[in-house]
Amino acid sequence: MFEATDQTRRKQRQESAIKYLLTTMTVIIVLPLLLIIFYLFYKAAPILSLEFLLENPIHGMRSGGIWAPLLGTIYLVLISLLIATPVGIFAAIYLNEYSRESWMTRVINLAVVNLAGVPSIVHALFGLGAFVLFAGIGRSILAASLTLAIMTLPVIIASTKEALAAVPHSFREACWNVGATRWQTIRNVVLPNSISGILTGVILQVSRAAGETAPVMFTGAVFFKAIQTGDPFAYGLLDQCMALSMHLFTISTQVPDVPDALTYGTAVVLLGVVLLFNALAILLRIKLRGKKKW
């Protein structure tokens, strides 16, 4: 009675066929990408060294290192972080702690989704029109950072919201019941218990901001700018700067006869920075999962 009939055998064959098909599909997505990344590292290996990071590009960007663009990217990321983090965190606090189910909340959520979905080149146009021209800041680190900040705002809002929502509601009620104000409750109980989740969002924002090219291209980044090597304060807030992402674009498309190792090296440093920060965020999240206080 329990012997396999033709039909069940066909079912089993089907079952394993579908499983293999889906596995293959997943492998096809993941494997080539890993291969590509290894290939990039392989091509870049000869040039990767501390000097590569600390020397300026020379000879019309055909040799030397990436100090000026690297420092520029650090400036852009840090300043955009300084602007986006507080606004993003408070926006998430509003959405998770204060807002009620209303059309207004709905519109804000839609706006956040859209802010994340606007093409980066449109953000660039906005930055050019609003900060560079209208506000009169001119093409500068400040204008580019403001553009990046608005662009990366949704990243911080999304992860902060998630972190806040993970704090049980009963904690808030307990605080209200003893006469704590809403802000005291958020400040003393909700935020300290969601800080790692918020930090994850901040790290992701860093990684996103570091990799963006289009938004800084017309708002503050330049093809080439000579700065003093070794001086971490070489750029001013209203100066233009080089940026790693833009530098990769420049030397791989705009400048002829750049040695391969240089372009691959730049690509790998940019990729490495971004992946490093993402890996950090992931590690933090995993660690956080194992260390709940309740």
């Binding site: 089907q14 098909l21 979905g117 080149i121 791989s252």
Partner: protein, 298 residues
């Protein structure tokens, strides 16, 4: 606290609440600001010399011609959509397949690992993708297809597909996860194979979420700039095959804005293209959001 300071508690709280509210609504403000400032830069030309008919129906894009300047964007629009749809044609089956695999077949440990890898893939900057298209894909396509140039629609579509896959996988996986386990149990209890369960039960139940995943993938593909700028070649015409170079709307802005004199007609037309892109992605994102959350529900 002295009684006097206690009196100030409600006022202080009110001020903090206003400030937080302000940050909350800033997202709305920024979206409006993007529209207004981008439109503002192109408004002069939009209301005086702009010929919408030519813009949407002509393929003649000669913004710097000395004798006869023409702004026909049809080839660019076609470029954007042909690359995006080809990318989706490649990305959707694989993305959804991987989502089903991760959600339904994958052992838990491997699942964690795969999700991390996919998250890392989503983080790769677009300029690096462009670089991959320019170097690795370029030579691969020339060798494999004997194509005259490797920078073409196919190259761009593969790069865009690889970029969109992580979005489709992660949102698709969320959608599948949201299908209650009781559905799966009921299907198994009725003697369905997993194959039948996936096609008859899971995919229909997660339909909206999967549709939204695909739409957000399209949104990302349409808006992508650096990767297509570097990978698709630069030929402004309507493509007749996948191995022909094309130019997209985004790439046009990126390539020409630096050269166009500020407030010239050419410069303003580029901002009008920006508004067109804004509108397209706006509609896609709103629609995807309505699909996910349900139109009637608040």
């Amino acid at each position: 606290m002295t009684p006097g300071r206690r009196h100030l508690e409600p006022l202080k709280e009110w001020l903090i609440e206003r400030f937080i509210w302000l940050c909350g609504v800033s997202a709305i403000f920024f979206v409006f600001a993007i529209f207004i400032f981008v439109f503002r830069e192109g408004a002069d030309y939009f209301f005086s010399g702009f010929k919408a008919g030519e813009f949407f129906t002509s393929i003649e894009w000669y913004p710097t011609s000395r004798t006869h300047v023409r702004y026909g964007a049809l080839a660019l629009i076609t470029g954007t959509f042909s690359v995006s749809f080809l990318a989706m044609f490649l990305a959707v089956p694989f993305g959804l397949g991987a989502a089903v695999f991760i959600s339904e077949f994958c052992p838990p440990r491997l699942k964690e690992g795969l999700k991390i890898v996919i998250e890392l893939l989503a983080a790769i900057p677009s300029v690096v993708w462009g670089f991959i298209g320019l170097t690795i894909m370029n030579s691969l396509i020339v060798r494999l297809f004997n194509a005259p140039i490797g920078l073409n629609m196919f190259n761009g579509a593969i790069i865009l597909a690889l970029m969109s896959v992580p979005i489709i996988v992660s949102i698709g996986e969320d959608a599948l996860k949201a299908v209650p386990d009781s559905y799966r149990e009921a299907a198994v209890a009725l003697g369905c194979t997993r194959w039948q369960m996936i096609f008859r039960v899971l995919l229909p139940a997660a339909r909206n979420g999967l549709l939204a995943a695909v739409m957000l993938g399209i949104g990302r593909a349409v808006g992508e700039t650096m990767a297509v700028l570097m990978a698709t070649g630069h030929s402004i015409r309507i493509p007749h095959g996948v191995l022909e170079p094309v130019r997209t709307l985004t790439a046009t802005i990126a390539a020409e804005l630096g050269e166009a004199p500020v407030h010239s007609d050419h410069y303003q037309v580029l901002f009008i293209i920006g508004i067109l892109l804004f509108t397209i992605t706006f509609v896609i994102n709103i629609t995807a959001d309505f699909i996910v959350r349900g139109i009637g529900r608040k």
